[in-house]
Amino acid sequence: MLQNRGTRVLLLSLALLAIGLALMAYKWRVLGFPLMPERQSTVWTVEAAVHFDAGPGPIKLNLYIPGLTPGFAILDENFVSRGYGATPRYVSGGRELQWAKRRARGAQSLYYRAVVYRDPTRVEDDTTPPFPSRPVLAEPFGTAAAILVEEVGSRSADPASFTQELLKRLNRPERDENVDLLLGPAPDAVDIARTATTLLASALIPARLLRGLYLQDQQRNAQIVPWLMVHDGTRWLYFDPRSGEQGLPDNFLLWWSGPDNLVSIDGGRNLEVRFSVSSSVMDPLALAQRRSEAHLGPLAQLSLFALPIQTQAVYSVILLVPLGALVVAFLRNMIGVQTFGTFMLVLIALAFRETQLLWGILLFSLLVALGLGLRFYLERLHLLAVPRIGAVLTIVVMLMLAVSILSHRLELDPGLSVALFPMVILAMTIERMSIVWEERGAGDAVRQGVGSLLVAALCYLAMDLRWSRHLVFVFPESLLLILAAMLLIGRYTGYRLLELRRFREFLRLEQD
């Protein structure tokens, strides 16, 4: 079967298509490269500012920093702490940053800053915890806890309903005496959550106190919010310790877990931590690029984005050329449009990108018409070929200059962009058009000229679509799709569209 060229080409293009699509799908779904040009991604910058007065002796300050963050991924983090040694490390409650300094005086300010973005693929991947040991509480707390656990247990079916019932009891405005005893006077949300973990432990349900922030808009002084995490035997469940509602709000950024305080210090006083949150939009491309660095490591360097910006800009144009070539191949071999030259039309279309379409067509026609007129005069001088084409080229350059100066005087700015036309191509077009004009008549010459302009215009439109520009640049593997299409057109043996007109006599005769 592989002997058959048609089948071989078909299989080859299918393979190219599959590889191209697979690579694109991977980059889109896994690495998060956007398929559409405009979508913007939001990133949040969360800053923890630690202020304190340096006390006697060396300073050692421990601050919890985000580690496991369900629903979010950390794009970047940094510590601003002049003169301090800073070491992040994993500890039982998550991650911790330790700042240390031998000597310091006066007010000190240390900053930790993290840039995070939403990443739904990140989940709490903690393993199933062991059953907690039953806490030993001094009397009368032990009895109060036992009674409460007993009562809540009788009104619930599973860890989830137990937790909800418990939180309902703890939050009830008119508290019964057991709850009152356990919570103490004027409890806040942290007290409630902390008491809940103790009581859940008494019921042999693993539970953790979480602390985090809501990421929303701009907050100068964001509050740490407690949350409750309960294991139901198969997975972790989240509860709002105040309302008892289950679930984790999707803008909740987990900062640390466990009963410990956010920050602890040796050698300092008047410790204060302030959180601020700000959101900003980020180019999704840059975000995806950072993410692919995280996913692929050094492989991510084998990317267009690893190139210098100027080179990238060059490639953003070069990558469009095959698309233009595809349009030309389609129009010539499937539609049957007649043109002067083939791929030089792509270069004319690239020039249209600078001049805009209407001006491009206008200026191109103007230059070719003027050049053609002068070319007919040159013909009468009987010149040798190379100097003659050179003369046409010189005339084209002079005409370009004239058009630029004139349009500048008339304050028609687009006329200036005529300088971006590929003049050698203009000269060759004029030369070939004049030959066709003489040998086959003006009709053929004009028809092919209009065909060329039409093809160049369609090329320009295809290459100028924001979407195609974005797609070939962000997914250069789309060139494999273009290659596949090219191969398929290369084996297209059906009629060209205009041949249906050309052979119309057959149809007319058939009807007679």
Binding site: N333, G336, H382, L384, A385, V386, I435, E439, R440, G441, D444, R491, Y492, T493, G494, Y495, R496, E499, L500, R502, F503, R504, E505, F506, L507, R508, L509, E510
Partner: protein, 314 residues
């Protein structure tokens, strides 16, 4: 539109893409192209094989050679200058004669005159590659100007009518008579406005005609009917055309022949990518005839092939 495609297909009309992929690329080895793309080589090849071609008066390969032009055409009243690598009839200049009393002047087909300097300029243009396919340097050929057999005088305007025979693997499959018109300025190329008249391969009689892709029955200039004419020396023409298969090794070949008043049938040039209008002129789609011959190659001599022609065409 899908209906049109279906109906054209039912008529067996061959399109350009299918011609290129299924026939030209498949049956014409690239290495043989130079034999037909270079008219000088074709001519020499034909002469070596004893096939009649218009006599070669001279070749000019450099602009300097054009100085010899007058010398090369000395004593010749009529002659043709053409590029060795031209395509589609471009660059062919026919000198029909010399005006009686004016030295160094040449008469064109349309009655106009040009002088020797202009003629040399045309040759220089040819040499510099103006009419050649890739713009490469070329050679200018000067050859005998065919004096057409008067049989077509009523149906052609000046110029030389020629016969195009499409030969597939040694068998003629379609033929047409190409008649110059006023519009085509003496040239026999259909896209320049000449008319194509289908020829019944077995009888040599003309059938229908096409002018610019449109079916016609009368010559647009003279108004005379173009069908029902008998092409003289028909079997000899077919024999010459079919023999070009052996000559070139090209399986899909267009052979252009002319009927000269004195020398009879001559081979003018060969074409490895012959056009498809021959189908309209004959009102016959090519596919069925080509399909019948697409089987095993057949190495019978020309005469035997032609004897079997009726049977092979179906």
């Amino acid at each position: 539109m899908p209906g049109r495609v279906r109906r054209l297909r039912a008529r067996g009309v061959l399109g350009i893409n299918a011609r290129n992929i299924e026939f030209v690329q498949r049956y014409n080895p690239r290495s043989r192209y130079p034999l037909v793309d270079d008219k000088l080589r074709t001519k020499r090849l034909a002469l070596a094989a004893g096939i009649a071609v218009p006599e070669l008066y001279g070749v000019m390969s450099t602009p300097h050679d054009t100085a010899r032009l007058a010398e090369l055409v000395a004593g010749r009243d009529a002659f043709v200058i053409k590029p060795a690598h031209g395509s589609g009839g471009d660059g062919i200049l026919v000198i029909a004669g010399r005006p009686a009393r004016r030295e160094g002047q040449f008469r064109l087909l349309d009655g106009g005159q040009i002088n020797e300097a202009e003629l040399r300029f045309h040759a220089t243009n040819i040499i510099s590659g103006r009419y050649s396919l890739g713009g490469h340097r070329d050679q200018a050929i000067i050859e005998y100007c065919v004096q057409p057999d008067p049989v077509f005088a009523g149906v052609s305007d000046r110029g030389v009518p020629d016969v195009r025979v499409l030969v597939f693997r040694g068998y003629p499959v379609l033929a047409m008579l190409r008649l110059p018109t006023r519009e085509s300025r003496g040239k026999a190329n259909l896209h320049q406005g000449a008319i194509g008249v289908g020829i019944d391969l077995l009888t040599g009689c003309t059938t229908h005609a096409v002018h610019h892709d449109t079916a016609i029955d009368e010559h647009p200039d003279t108004g005379l009917p173009v069908s029902g004419l008998e092409v003289p020396h028909w079997s000899q023409l077919l024999e010459l055309a079919a023999g070009c298969y052996e000559l070139t090794g090209l399986g899909y070949l267009g052979v252009d022949l002319v009927l000269d008043r004195r020398h009879g049938p001559l081979i003018l040039e060969l074409n490895a990518r012959p056009g498809l209008n021959i189908q309209i002129a004959n009102r016959v789609g090519l596919r069925r005839r080509l399909a019948r011959l697409a089987g095993a190659a057949d190495d019978r001599p020309v005469a035997e092939r032609l004897a079997r022609l009726a049977e092979r065409l179906g």
